[in-house]
Amino acid sequence: MTILCKRSDLIANSGVCALHNNEQVAIFYLPDTEQKVFAVSNWDPIGEANVISRGIVGSVEDRLVVASPLYKQHFCLITGECLEQSAQLTVYPVALDGEHLVLAA
């Protein structure tokens, strides 16, 4: 278990990026959902840049998604899959532990 950052580093209803073992992790904080925090890889496999944390979050037919800020494809925050074409983000197991965000792996 690793502490990635503090709750106060997160931006409500939006994303930030953390570094973990040289991997870039995009973290989204959605306080109104049950799970509250979500983490996927920051690398946009379609736009080929480290930008996923800067996308807009929302829902597509009840699935929580982030839209790539480059070319607007939607990625599921829970499974990491892309809804429009075949592409996949890595999903990281994260949770809030008091005032800290922890990564289970």
Partner: protein, 842 residues
Amino acid sequence: MSQIKVVVVGNGMVGHHYVSTLAASDIDAQITVIGGEPRPAYDRVHLSEVFDGKEPSDLGLVTREEYVALGVDAHFGDFVDKIDRSAMQVITRGGQVFDYDKLVLATGSYPFVPPIPGNDLPHCLAYRTIDDLGEIKASAQGQKVGVVVGGGLLGLECANALKNLGLEAHVVEFAPGLMGVQLDDGGSQMLRRQIEALDVKVHTSKATQKIREGDEHRLKMEFADGSELETDLIVFSAGIRPYDELARQADLKVGERGGIVIDYQCKTSDENIFAIGECAVQGNFIYGLVAPGYRMAEAAVSQLSSEPQSFTGADMSTKLKLLGVEVGSIGDSKGQADGSLAFVFSDERDAVYKRLNVSADGRRVLGATLVGDTSDYDTLLQYYLNEIDLPDAPENLVLPALDGQAPTLGADALPLSATICSCHNVSKGDLVTAIDGGCTSLADVKGCTQAATGCGGCAALLKNVVDAELAARGMEVDTRLCEHFKQSRQELFIIIQATQIRDFKTLVNKYGCGQGCDVCKPAVASIFASLWNEHVLDADLVPLQDTNDTFMANMQKDGTYSVVPRVPGGEILPEQLIVLGSVAKKYGLYSKITGGQRVDLFGAKLNDLPNIWQELIDAGMETGHAYAKSLRTVKSCVGSTWCRYGVQDSAGQAIDLENRYKGLRSPHKLKMAVSGCTRECAEAQSKDVGVIATENGWNLYVCGNGGMKPRHADLFAVDLDTPTLIRTIDRFLMFYVRTADRLQRTSVWLENLEGGLDYLKAVILEDSLGIADELEQQMQHVVDTYQCEWRTAINDQEKLKRFRQFINSNSSDPNVAFVQERGQPRPATSAEKRRQQLKAVV
């Protein structure tokens, strides 16, 4: 059958319609067309718009290349001088000879110049062709007074043209009233009042006896009553005469008062020769409008097919706007038929006159005259054309309704045979067929039937019919913003304004569903900003913003950002140029002069953005909103300050406008420009808002666009003083902000706006909706609450929190790498990155 040789003489509107109809049919014809004017057919009906800012080339109906592509052999600038009927040949002035199997005369008509001594002096002109326009313009250059002889429809249009050229315009009419052909006395008088109120001098019952050299002006006109009028130029518009010389020479039958006589098949007295359009006379009648000419062309083409059709006359009802005054005339407009009963309404305060003529039994409309208000035209025309039974109190059709709602004839009540678009001969039945054939929107139906793509007069009626038909089939036009909001952007705007909601959560819970998305969130953020103008990075707002707004910079392909400070009007201090240069050097940025007269610095790392902006702000610069759907730049030229032709200070005006509207969030980006004279170096006519200096103030153009689908801006108002200019732009922009769809530029917005430019003018210039004050106040609020977003952000640690590449590390993105090209950095390609990494390892 072998290919048939068709020769068409005249390439006016009707001749061209014949050629295009024939070329599109499956008749196997070899088409030759000979046009006397030096250019292919153009839209004569909209000739006057050239005085309103259009280019002659905008009027073209066809190009030489298009004729070539259709396999049409076209010759321009040569006149057919002779028809040899026995050899079946035509011979041109230039000596060319063409054989025909079928000959079509579409020679149109020419302006009649009354036989007044002196009518051939220089600066006595006519008005019919693009070349005439050039002569009128040249003659008017630097002059003061212009006279139009003739107070008919064309004469009044010409008077407007003279006014637009900056002349004091006079209309001299022989008869006692204006537009005597179409209007009764009451209507004619009301029209005169209105036109005089617009500063056009009207002289009726005046017979010109002589024209000679003037004392103070170039020419002097002497009238039968002893009075005189001095002027710099005269344009004759005293009626038209058919070009029938050719027919006379070939011994074809001509009418008593001229014109080539045709039968119902549009055949002349020689069965291999047709005549169509304004040169033809049928039953003693010359049809001086374009729609009947088109019908003749179609009928003449059909004679070559297995299904010949007839042309048996056409409706001459017209609706137009002369010098901004609405005029309509339907059928027997003056009530001359036996037993005709009239209902007349006259309102001298608002200058409205309406006359409805009905049959003796009160059941049918026979005709109508409308001056000052033609809103009833569509309804009355449908009653007339389709012989629909009148209600018991027909007067209600022309009286102002007490509850403010004019009775309209529901689209449902129209029979399938009802003509909706007369330019393209589209009936309600054609529309229904198109919808049954798969059209699901107004745009589809227009594309498929051509309806409303001619004069545009039928647009409102077309929309009614299409909407009604779609609704009847349970097809709703889908205007929902996205899956989270069933409202359109405009509806959401009204909701937010009325409820004063300022956060997304409340809005989506009350009026939408789900979590929102990358479509509705930025749209809502934009509406909030237009209305409340709070900082883009406020905690509630930041999750709604696109990445560009979130970081107040444009994201580039590699995840870096660009930096564009505002340079109002393109005017920049040397010190600021130096700072731009040193910042670019210090942070390793690629520098480029943009197409918007400013400087863009590319390749900034996320974590460098706050420091870069700190340095720029310290040098007195501010954000340029290059990242936002909001005002980008106001392009300028140097204007009267430096330029020898400039008539106003265009740079100063551009800077003032840019400072006023900077920061205004809108449905899409906004661009403006100000030029110092008509040479137009700032390209104002390609902008959303364009301003061009005149001797007397500023001309305002709106809804231009460059980009994917360029559109010339429309002239909106002329000779405005600066306060009026600002007030007009305030209203225009706010109305756009309120009513446009998301990501709809002003050009597309206007093209979809019901009622088009006239409606927009009514709303903005005449305040027809009574919202002008509110629009101005809303804009003033935006202006008063302006802040440089970057200045606010760099002074607020909470807002800067996000400008870190990683929340748990100070390193930067290792994937961002540059190589040098032409002395500046550019993003490395992936191959280059691999090489760089390899080197680092080795």
